[in-house]
Symmetry: none
Subunit: 205 residues, 4 copies
Amino acid sequence: MSGQQRGRPRSSHAHQAVLTATLELLTSGGYQRLTMEAIAAEAGVGKQTVYRWWPSKAAIVAEAVLSGHLATDASPLAETGDVLTDLRDWLSGQLARLTDPSSTALLRGLTAAAAESDTDAAKLYEQFTGPFRQYLVQRLAIGVRQGQLRPDARLDAAADLVIGALIYRTLTHGNLSGQGGADDLIEVLFAGLGLRAGVTPTSPG
Amino acid sequence: MSGQQRGRPRSSHAHQAVLTATLELLTSGGYQRLTMEAIAAEAGVGKQTVYRWWPSKAAIVAEAVLSGHLATDASPLAETGDVLTDLRDWLSGQLARLTDPSSTALLRGLTAAAAESDTDAAKLYEQFTGPFRQYLVQRLAIGVRQGQLRPDARLDAAADLVIGALIYRTLTHGNLSGQGGADDLIEVLFAGLGLRAGVTPTSPG
Amino acid sequence: MSGQQRGRPRSSHAHQAVLTATLELLTSGGYQRLTMEAIAAEAGVGKQTVYRWWPSKAAIVAEAVLSGHLATDASPLAETGDVLTDLRDWLSGQLARLTDPSSTALLRGLTAAAAESDTDAAKLYEQFTGPFRQYLVQRLAIGVRQGQLRPDARLDAAADLVIGALIYRTLTHGNLSGQGGADDLIEVLFAGLGLRAGVTPTSPG
Amino acid sequence: MSGQQRGRPRSSHAHQAVLTATLELLTSGGYQRLTMEAIAAEAGVGKQTVYRWWPSKAAIVAEAVLSGHLATDASPLAETGDVLTDLRDWLSGQLARLTDPSSTALLRGLTAAAAESDTDAAKLYEQFTGPFRQYLVQRLAIGVRQGQLRPDARLDAAADLVIGALIYRTLTHGNLSGQGGADDLIEVLFAGLGLRAGVTPTSPG
DNA sequence: CGGTAAGCGAGACGGTACGTCGTGTCTTTCG
DNA sequence: CGAAAGACACGACGTACCGTCTCGCTTACCG
């Protein structure tokens, strides 16, 4: 009878409350207000409980991101059949979202969490950007299969360029011009991917 | 004129010592060791002196970057006449530098400094990446003038893509494959810039 | 009942250590060395713990005095049956003790603590001198009961005079002449200034 | 002789302003507000000027007291011919003055200044209380000469008792009962504790 | 009358201590 | 035996004064 549940079981309620509190504090007050004490207090949870489940602030943020508590808005790209349009729309949407203060707060907080921990940094960042990267590559791969893109296009590198630019622009430029910014990136990107005949990579207008 | 010198003039020695100490601590111990007290102690300076000159840690790092105390290795691109070669070499060099632990520590510290201050973030980041961006655009502009690149190429967007990718890869990937990584990025970039006939953008077999 | 014990109880060990450290620093280095940081360090205690228990330095000193951690040497007067002898001996003893550097350091520190806080001053002083005052009045009262002193003698006023003189002499005179000083005070106390016939010293009806 | 006047003479205006500022700060805000910087600022004087003239805060207070900038109200006792009345009136007046908040602030500040400096303490205190003591002894001596007091009365000891009691009562008791308090002290002083027959209070020859 | 020397207000300097806040660990009681 | 509560040792924060040190500017005496 040794394998039996002893003592009080872990409270999944506490677990959820911590993740929710983390979201709340991160989007509202930035990374500065995201202290372990504030998380515990906001969640109505003992500090020890937080430390029992997560080794660091970065770990909490990481799980909050992965578990969907943080609205990262990582959505698959549309598949209209035209990879150019789909990518442009997706990129415009992402840039639009990044004008929202809570999104920039989140991204900045994430960056801070990554920067502060030598060990968790890479992991955290990859977990956060992973889904975006995955959706991007998936859609581009379809474009390749459909003959719209060169078969030997470096999809991974392209995804890195796109995501890196998104983050970089968010962190540096105060105001992002939603549509124009996307078009410029698209412009550079698509010719690089070897867009074939009949498709004009230039922007509308 | 009322704005004349009153009281003891500010010590440029103290000023320099703080910037030097900031570099030392940032590259050696990471952003965690970069406390105001450590900076003051390392510089042999009173804390008040630090606060008298800079309002925040981010501001110190920003000036340390700009003043050249931090070896950011932002160098102009070579001009061999072949923009492809020049960009590839430069990119390889940057990626190689970013494998150096002190460089990643610096970049991470910079990111942390940017993330911790809502106000200084954009400014700090732009100051740090500004020179890189400028050199990139300059060389690409020459390529345009020499007819190697499309006259309507979006140089700014290309620079954003490159720098964003550099930072992103540094923060996420533990190990960067110096040559291959650069080639992939080059591959995507150059066709996008409308590389003309006779120049092969593909990587070495 | 809502007022029940929650969380970790306060450490009486820390409490004691602070009082002991206060004594040590006060008697050895004077009030200047008695800083909150020094107390915490000497006691092996966090500063926060000190502030959690006491609102000010004066409060710590006050409790250290009351709790007997500070050797104030407030002892009852002997009862040989002769109030004159008992008072003279006690007074000589106190004056002798006050030639001890650590005692003067303590008294001076106490005075400094009292002076630095408008609110705690009176309380602190009274707590310190209270026992002395009490023992004095007690012995004098016995003298009255035994018919050695006038039944209408102002014992409180006499005690104030004695204690005030002790403090005053300690703070002003560098060197106190143990025996002679006591005798002079005794002389005045017991016989007064010897008001001559026809003059009534008592207060108006 | 080399000791002749060279350079700009010291500004008596600055000197006066410092003493006045010291008074102002000491009586208004207590000893806590009496910082060197506050004195210099209030006096409109450079800090160095203050340090050039006085080695310590206690020294400033001491001179402020002596120079009459501080209204210590040390006045001679009246000489109506009746030493009892004169002393009682004087004592009542002093106790009345000591109910004034600015007077207690001054006395407390003085005590603090004395307590904080091992070296200046005695000197400072004696300078402050000296005049009071002197006036007291003078009047008592007249009483002796006029045959109202015993020729062998210990006048110095009596003065110490009176002044000590005044200070002690001010520092400890929140409210001093002007008249009654004086009468009690007078009672003890003049008639003593009324030692009964057969007991000789005098000291050894 | 110009030179020289010291005092002047101002304020930055290297320090120390302040009182607060956050860290990660611990020790209670309660469920 | 987990979880809340919260005290613990520790260390960094940003501020206030300390006593010292330059600055540019008087204000005297001097040769």
